[in-house]
């Protein structure tokens, strides 16, 4: 029959490296017996003394961890920051790119509908995202346990890593967004003609002039972004050109909508509605375009004005402005 002490010692030994087991077995039993004897000498009953002694030693699994020198965490404080930054970078930068690529590929499938494209995008977010989390964490866990490459990952912090707070030019991310946007809009404009619906949503008659004109305007906005990025600062000419481009784009869209030349008259989607759905959609697009154009013009003009006056950037929430040293 196994006694309580046997069961305790066996349980602890299960999680101790094999070559240490016999030694720890003898030592732990001797220590338990010593403690029990001391309690019995002090007047306790033997069974009660054993129970109290084992209770004091506590969870045998934790004791085993302690003997084996195992750490009770996945990724320690040294590597946690690097792990978090890596994962954040993957999820916010790499994942969106992968999802866009997957969605675009799906668009070119023969039987693609809006539903399958959205489905493919959500599927990609889930699978790729989970894979990213899992493999990154596994990699860091291995580094944490083996110590291999730990110093390479844990690069010391230097002053050069401090972010800049200039009311400065376009960041690389903003440049990327400004370049990606015209491409996406152009792709959408071309694809809606052929794939999304049997009858295109937008008026095909405009391909003779207005749609190519809009694509050129979008492309010019991309050129403008490259210009601002290389210039490195917001200036008055930058603001003026931006205002001209935004105004031109909005003027074209508003003209087409107001003259009822924007939406394809043969598009069947609006036919069954009781209300004038076409009119409402047109109005909504007009308002959206005008508001976003106004905001864009104002925002860039404000940045240019701040840069001209040398007003430093504001860090949101701090109530302070920080000047460039």
């Amino acid at each position: 029959m196994t006694t309580l002490v046997d069961r305790y010692v066996f349980t602890a030994l299960r999680r101790v490296p094999e070559q240490q087991r016999s030694d720890i077995d003898r030592e732990l039993r001797a220590s338990i017996d010593d403690a029990v004897d001391a309690r019995v000498e002090a007047g306790e009953a033997r069974d009660a003394a054993i129970e109290r002694t084992l209770l004091e030693l506590g969870d045998p699994d934790r004791l085993a961890d302690s003997y084996a020198g195992r750490s009770n965490y996945l990724i320690g404080p040294e590597l946690y920051g690097v792990w978090r930054r890596s994962l954040l970078m993957l999820l916010t930068t790499v994942l969106p790119i992968v999802v866009v690529v997957v969605a675009v590929i799906e668009v070119f499938q023969d039987d693609a509908t809006v539903g399958t494209v959205i489905g493919a995008a959500i599927g990609a977010i889930l699978t790729v995202g989970v894979h990213m989390c899992f493999w990154t964490t596994l990699g860091f866990w291995i580094v944490e346990r083996t110590g291999a490459g730990k110093d390479d990952l844990n690069v010391p912090w230097t002053l050069a890593k401090l972010p800049r707070y200039e009311a400065g030019a376009l960041s690389r991310v903003e440049l990327g967004a400004n370049l990606l946007w015209p491409v996406l809009v152009t792709v959408a404009l071309v694809l809606q003609q052929f794939t999304f619906t049997d009858v295109p949503l937008l008026d095909p008659a405009n391909w003779t002039f207005w749609w190519p004109a809009l694509i050129v305007l979008f492309a010019l906005k991309g050129v403008w972004a490259v210009w601002v990025y290389r210039l490195g600062r917001w200036t008055r000419p930058v603001a003026v050109v931006n205002a001209a481009l935004s105004a031109a784009t909005t003027a074209v869209v508003v003209y087409l909508l107001a003259a009822d030349k924007f939406i394809n008259p043969d598009f069947p989607g609006f036919a069954n509605a009781d209300v004038d759905l076409r009119g409402w959609v047109s109005l909504a697009i007009i308002i959206a375009f005008v508001l976003s154009a106004l905001w864009d013009i104002f925002d860039v003009a404000r940045k240019a004005e701040r840069a001209r006056k040398g007003v430093p950037a504001q860090v949101p929430g701090s109530g302070n402005t920080y000047s460039i040293i």
């Binding site: 732990l28 001797a30 010593d34």
Partner: protein, 123 residues
């Protein structure tokens, strides 16, 4: 001053933080004369060091693997026991730790003495 539950918990965690490491110094000091796990536990708790058996026994093996302790099984008595002894290296480490302990104690005494004035406190 009345300590409520939160301050009790806070105090307990700070005390634990402060005591961590003292068991190493105490063990290395006591084991200059050979001793086994339970005897050391008794000696330490009588001397006023609060230490749990489940912390001390693994700690002894860790100190042994670091070369600060050596061990030998004594099978002369009815119950075989593993006796630990502080090595020369262990003694040197213990000396260094005790010196640091007294230095901290002196520094703390100086800090809490009334004569200390904080720079700028008279403004």
């Amino acid at each position: 001053m009345v300590l409520d539950m939160t301050t009790d918990a806070t105090l307990a965690s700070h005390l634990q933080e402060l005591r961590r490491g003292t068991v190493v110094v105490a063990s290395l000091t006591v084991l200059r004369t050979p001793g086994y796990g339970y005897s050391l536990l008794e000696t330490l708790s009588e001397a006023g060091f609060e230490v749990e058996a489940n912390t001390l026994y693994p700690l002894l093996r860790r100190l042994e693997s670091q070369g600060l302790l050596t061990s030998a099984w004594n099978t002369d008595e009815a119950r075989p026991r593993k006796f630990y002894t502080t090595t020369d290296q262990g003694n040197a480490v213990a000396d260094a730790l005790r010196t640091e302990w007294s230095r901290l104690d002196e520094a703390m005494t100086d800090l809490s003495a009334d004569s200390v004035t904080t720079p700028g406190s008279d403004k």
